[in-house]
Amino acid sequence: MNIIDRRLNPQGKSLANRQRFLRRAKEQVVKAVRDASGKRGIQDLENGEKVTIAAGGVREPSFHRSGSGGVRDYVVPGNKEYVEGDTIPRPEGGGGGRGNEGSADGEGEDDFRFVLSRDEFLDIFLEDLELPDLVKQKVKQTESHTLTRAGYSVSGSPANLSLVRTMRNSLSRRIALRRPKPAEIAELEALLREAEEAGEDPERLQELRQELERQILRSKRIPFIDPIDVRYNRFDTVPKPIAQAVMFCLMDVSGSMTEHMKDLAKRFFMLLFLFLKRRYGAVDIVFIRHTHEAKEVDEETFFYSAETGGTVVSTALEEMRKVIEERYPPQDWNIYAAQASDGDNMSSDNAKSAALLRDVIVPYCQYFAYIEVAAEHNMGLSALGRETELWRTYKQVQGPDRPLAMRRVRSRREIFPVFRDLFARDKAGA
């Protein structure tokens, strides 16, 4: 008998099958994920998701008899009171305790439920999304060098020693210089010993001794490994061209923004943040929030800290311009911006904002997305077509060659669709 411990075998043997299954059920899974994502908070996005898909697309059909019709006989255990010829009213739902001859796998047309891992969920959710127009390919000086093999060198660190090369050189040198092998010396020694024991004539003995001495000397003079044999693996550093992109997140945190609106905006940016982090390792993100004055803040402050004040949008745009000019020269960087606001602005600021946006910001940007968050109960007003100040202002700036997208979000449910809409791959650059 053999006992084999298989527990340490590589895990995830079924991964390939799972991938095939997901690919097969792709359409339904994507749909289920979209449905599910409308219902869940962004924090929950970090977890996996239990999805339910219709069994139709992943059904495994087979020839089997249908569950109804015809004459069937069953033998069942546990008779208590029946005698031959008794009749029993037909149980509901086609024979509760009557066995299930028809469907062998017991699956029927039920929905199929299973759990997606977090990565699978995000992959499917963020699929097809892309930052539009990543055009300016620039080599960044400070970052991202990769090592590539570049042959061999005669100097280097011991860790890079190329054993095979070194031994090859050593071997060819030893052959060329005819260094005696240890076996040859041993053979000579044996021969000498034999000759000594046999008492052969002294001249022959002398000859052998000299020969042995010469060979030993030779093997000492010609080292096994000479410094000239040693070779090292050589690596070159190669700069890796990366597309440099920076994403500006602008948010209004003034008093007119209700908790609900802030919540919507935050959710939107969180989603954006997640998307960028996942898709682009090398994307810089700048957070700017503003009331009547704007400040560049870190992620934590941007999302979680409270602030009140009036609303002057141009300050944020001004701040953005400042940051761009200081740190992100537009000729080297792909610049993206997303702004969230409730649409309020000081009326005196509208003209300035429009000008800034039209003349400075939008020309700098590859893409500028404006998200207007509104109170949920506010639906009626917008439905009547009343537009907010900022919306009207921005609308003037919008033009065929200006990459400015505007969307309204009223409830949490809309965030995912709007987000997808903005970054869907085919719409890129619209």
């Binding site: 006992i3 099958n17 069942v76 546990g78 029946y82 031959e84």
Partner: protein, 517 residues
């Protein structure tokens, strides 16, 4: 505790934890009982310890240690995993593979008593059955199966690389849908080897020489080149029709398949054939294994090799395995093969060793012959579920299980109790229960009856309808679609009453677009 036990022999293990030494010790003790006292004959054993995840893995790839890749296995894994994680369903304690060496998987989280039980159950019970039952001997090749699966896996992998996932998946989907129509139910005529062929040739020649008559030479022959058109029956004979092994027919005769596609069909067909005996011997196989583990555990307990506590733990899981809920119980879901099998095995031993008058009347050969163990071994070797029940189900057991039969006629508003466990009903009940395990009766009788290769190449299948139960329509349609994909031309399925030959229903699927033409 040990002071109380006065029986000879020392405990072979104590407590719940297991390690390799204990398993080895337990295995040796079990082997001693199984081979020397029960006279079992087994393949060499290989016991593999696996984790819960690996058990789920094995589940989804129909219990085989290696399997080709297909999305349906991923689907089953996803579902089983969820059911397991949510606690809706436990995992089996073991999986055993009919191969030589016989591989038994045991789970790491089992207690030592469970490991003992599992080794007795799988490594000896199932193993003995696999090695000795005539169906397995006739149909499966225990030595070759793992090598074959290895080949299948590699081959399908290569096909995927060469022809793409989609193309391979298409063929495998179709083949899976036809899996239960992919077995030979009767052994095919064996092809003769060279020596036999020569012998037959010689015999024919001798016969011709003996019966030579010059007169035949003078009989006029039809002019060469003017062969009459083939009759339908001749055409069918050439194609080997009717044929119930649909996969086999498609593999050999489908006009549009590539070589590799035929090979894929062949692989699925072989695997299906390999599992065919298992489908036919559920009750016997489990009954045999349960009976064996019960005997072995009892002997271990009798000889003082396991503690009272361990034996109680064993009894607890044994009774839940052989529990048979009654028909009006919420938990009822058909007859439990473990329960029926185990009860019948015990009953056979009882009849052989302590028969009643009734048993003598029903089982004149078996009753009172003594050596119950030999009697069950014979049963294990020679029967399948259907014939086993027909042969061995005793009135005693029918009374014990309180079996009765119900007739469900869709035309009547109520169900009729046909037979119950009384003198008049025993034989009919036995016959009906046996029928419930007859695959030939359980699975719809579907055959390829005709195709005109010279004409429109429409493939015609017949389903011979018994008791007026038709095929499930949507599934039948889906499977026909798969057949059409493989066949390449129109496919028609006719449901014909087995009694009157009347046509009850027709399904047809047109040739797959883009393929025909």
């Amino acid at each position: 505790m040990t002071a109380v036990i006065t029986k000879p022999g020392a405990l072979i293990y104590d407590g719940v934890d297991w390690d390799y030494d204990t398993i080895k010790r337990v295995y040796d003790a079990i082997e001693h009982i199984a081979l020397n006292e029960m006279g079992l004959n087994v393949y060499p054993n290989q016991i593999e310890v696996i984790t819960a995840e690996q058990m789920l893995d094995a589940y989804s790839s129909i219990g085989m240690p290696l399997m080709y890749k297909h999305w349906s296995f991923g689907k089953h894994f996803a579902r089983d995993e969820m059911l397991y994680r949510k606690g809706y369903r436990g995992l089996a304690y073991e999986i055993v593979i009919n191969s030589s060496p016989c591989i038994s998987y045991i789970m790491e989280e089992n207690t030592m008593t469970m490991q003992t039980l599992v080794i007795a159950h799988a490594a000896f019970g199932h193993n003995h059955f696999f090695k000795n039952n005539q169906l397995f001997q006739q149909w499966t090749d225990a030595e070759g199966i793992l090598d074959y699966l290895e080949f299948a896996k590699t081959y399908i992998n290569q096909c995927e690389e060469r022809y793409g996932y989609a193309a391979v998946e298409r063929v495998l989907d179709a083949a899976h849908a036809l899996m239960s129509q992919g077995v030979h139910k009767y052994p095919k005529k064996r092809t003769l080897d060279l020596r036999l062929e020569q012998k037959r040739e010689r015999e024919r020649q001798e016969y011709q020489e003996q019966t030579f008559n010059d007169l035949w030479r003078t009989v006029p022959r039809p002019a060469a080149g003017q062969r009459p058109p083939k009759s339908v029956s001749e055409r069918k004979k050439l194609l080997g029709l009717p044929e119930e092994n649909i996969l086999y027919f498609l593999e050999k005769k489908a006009p549009r398949l590539e070589h590799w596609q035929r090979e894929l069909l062949r692989i699925v067909r072989h695997i299906s054939q390999y599992f065919y005996p298992q489908k036919q011997t559920k009750v016997m196989n489990e009954g045999c294994a349960t009976f064996v583990h019960y005997q072995i555990m009892s002997r271990l307990h009798e000889t003082g090799q396991i503690s009272e506590g361990a034996f109680l733990e064993f009894l607890h899981s044994h009774t839940s395995v052989v529990f048979q809920p009654e028909f009006d119980d919420k938990r009822f879901s058909g007859i439990n093969p473990y329960a029926l099998g185990f009860a019948m095995m015990q009953d056979i031993v009882r009849i052989a060793e302590q028969p009643t008058d009734e048993d003598r009347q029903y089982f004149p050969d078996l009753a009172g012959r003594g050596d119950g163990m030999a009697a069950v071994r014979e049963a294990w070797a020679n029967f399948r579920d259907e014939s086993f029940i027909l042969q061995y189900l005793s009135p005693h057991l029918m009374r014990k299980l309180k079996l009765f039969s119900v007739r469900d006629d869709a035309e009547d508003p109520y169900l009729l109790v046909d037979h119950i466990h009384n003198e008049r009903g025993y034989r009919s009940l036995r016959k009906m229960l046996a029928r419930q395990y007859d695959l030939g009766f359980l699975e719809p009788d579907i055959q390829i009856v005709d195709v005109d290769l010279a004409g429109d190449r429409k493939l015609i299948l017949h389903h011979r309808v018994t008791n007026g139960v038709l095929l499930d329509e949507s599934d039948a349609k889906a499977v026909l679609r798969h057949i059409a994909n493989l066949w390449g031309y129109e496919v028609q399925l006719v449901e014909v009453s087995a009694v009157s030959d009347a046509i009850l229903k027709e399904h047809a699927v047109t040739a797959p677009s883009g393929v025909s033409g």
